[in-house]
Amino acid sequence: MRRFLLQRLALAVPTALGAVTFCFFLVRLLPGDPARVIAGPQATPAQIAHLREQIGLNGSWLQQYVSYLNRLVHGNLGYSALTGQSVLSEIAAHAPYTIELAVCAIVLSTVFGVLLGTIAASRRETFIDTLIGGLSVAGVSVPVFWTGLILVSIFAVQLRMLPAAGAGSWDSIILPAITLSLFPLAFISRQTRSAMVGALSEDYSRTAQAKGSGWPRLVFRHALRNAAIPIVTVTGLELGQLLGGAILTETVFAWPGIGQLLVQSISSRDFVVVQGIILVFALSLIVVNLATDIAYVLLEPRLRHGR
């Protein structure tokens, strides 16, 4: 087990470094002089020069790269051209909203996704199975922002039951969370069905039945415990898509999370912020993937004893 984890950690480090390097080049993709572009058409040469220094565009490529890494290690992601605040503090201010949204969406999608997938697997080839299957494929085909808009249209505009935007009241999170959870829910449902069908057809499921296990015990204890392994593995990898969905969802609902910060920064050409957020996203994803690996090891007893 230890060896497996160390391997994964060893893989994560160059990946993280690569992601960091990619972000390093992002700003330099801007046409012409990045500092001038970021500073904007109103800026004075002095301001542009100051910005140059701040972003670290002076010196050779190697010098720039090293100082970039150095700043990163000290938590310096630069400063927003719009507000003057440090990028890190901007992100920190908006992060809780995104985390709250993401957690709600994950909980919703996991609970209902696993439930639906399990029901579909235990009622294989029946109408219920086809229905859930159809809903699942529809769920992964629908654009997340359209879901949001439709929900707003129904619940906020027509029925006036829930707020259409913002994070003002306690029920503001309901529609965004549901919106964001739809795609992963459908995805998890499909994965669960397939994993459960596999587990239920294994010999140990037959043994459980021969022991006198009833249906609930067979499904939720014996089968699900084994199906959880592939479900968690594949789902963990898909979690990154959730971040993309969060950006769009936050835009639909004007939810003040990092996603909205990102879109606003792009629109206002505040590229230092953009670069910082992209980096944070990538590093978070790497961490999430590591967590998935840990979960996989914990769930799979065969890995724990090194056979």
């Binding site: 294994e202 010999d203 140990y204 037959r206 043994t207 459980a208 039945q209 021969a210 022991k211 006198g212 296990s213 009833g214 014996h222 415990r225 084994n226 769930l299 007893p301 065969r302 004893h305 056979r307």
Partner: protein, 338 residues
């Protein structure tokens, strides 16, 4: 068709048919089998693959996988209750309780996610109202009974840490945990090495002697039958073709099929200069042999009368579905095979 009736059979199977497909066009894999199992005795059910023996075993506990099903008219009576008519809840109480079943693949029969002790203890708690602690202690005890050394540690271990033979012992321990009256064993040693196989067979004999558990042992290996059978039952193409005490069936088989099977097993005395006798052809599907004796096409002794399905007829202490059963039972085994 019925075999020898016993006065107080452990399990009484009457007219059991198992099939697939729509009612109008049913494909039968078990056709009208009647069999009594004696308490405290090992009955070996012999047949090649395709004979329906596994389906018969699965039907006792109603574990036939969809889309197969036990066909109407079948009766399986255990302790006065017809299992085919039992409610799902009642069936669950029987499964693993009064009747336990073990299967062929020890490597995959145990759940890899739970420890050995947990799985045995689960069996105990499903059928008895005991605490976790008590169930666990019983599990350790059982592991010791089936001959696993260091049972405390092995109970905490996981299936993947055990060899095939040891896993099968764990499975047997699980099956014994509720002191069942009947143990159905579907080819439990087929997937094991010969030496391990011998150990498991010894274990089963011990279980019969110590607990007086009746065992229905399914196998295709005639050699195994010779080692442990008290009673023999032979299936062919979905039908029961022979039953009787082991010593009679194995020395003077009243059915040409068993006779041919016995001949095809090489022994130390076999003539090594001659090719090994084999039975030509292969087992037909049960549905292909309506109307005539199923073994006819492969039998060296077939004659005109064989175009009619022979009923089970007494031949000494055996009961055989063959027109020449009596004469078979009188001659020594190995009489004439092409």
């Amino acid at each position: 068709m019925m075999a020898t009736r016993l006065d107080e059979p452990l399990l009484s199977i009457r007219d059991l048919s198992v099939g697939f497909g729509p009612a109008r066009d049913v494909r039968k894999v078990v056709d009208g089998v009647g069999l009594d199992l004696a308490p405290g005795r090992i009955t070996c059910l012999v047949g090649e693959s395709g004979s329906g023996k596994s389906m018969l075993a699965l039907s006792i506990l109603r574990l036939i996988p969809r889309p197969g099903r036990i066909l109407p008219g079948s009766r399986i009576v255990f302790q006065g209750v017809d299992l085919t008519a039992l409610s799902p809840r009642g069936m669950r109480a029987v499964r693993g309780g009064e009747i336990s079943m073990i299967f062929q693949e020890p490597m995959t029969s145990l759940n890899p996610a739970f420890s050995n002790g947990t799985q045995i203890a689960e069996s105990v708690r499903l059928h008895n109202d005991v605490s976790r602690r008590e169930a666990w202690d019983r599990a350790v005890e059982l592991l010791d009974t089936v001959g696993i050394r260091d049972p405390q540690r092995r109970a905490r271990d996981f299936p993947h840490q055990l060899s095939g033979g040891m896993r099968q012992r764990v499975v047997i321990a699980m099956a014994l945990s509720t002191s069942p009256r009947l143990l159905v064993a579907d080819e439990p040693t087929t997937a094991l090495d010969v030496t391990v196989q011998a150990q498991i067979l010894d274990l089963l004999l011990e279980i019969r002697d110590t607990y007086r558990t009746g065992i229905l042992f399914i196998t295709h290996d005639v050699g195994v039958v010779g080692q442990i059978a008290d009673e023999v039952a032979v299936m062919y193409a979905g039908r029961l073709v022979l039953t009787g005490p082991a010593e009679d069936c194995l020395t003077r088989p009243a059915h040409p099929y068993l006779a041919a099977l016995l001949e095809s097993v090489p022994t130390l005395e076999s003539d090594r200069t001659r090719p090994l006798p084999v039975i030509p052809g292969s087992v037909p599907e049960a549905t292909d042999v309506r109307g005539e004796c199923g073994f006819r096409a492969r039998c060296a002794r077939s004659f005109g009368q064989c175009s009619q399905v022979p009923p089970l007829m007494p031949a000494g202490r055996q009961s055989s579905a063959c027109w020449i059963a009596e004469s078979m039972a009188e001659s020594a085994a190995g009489g004439g095979h092409a």
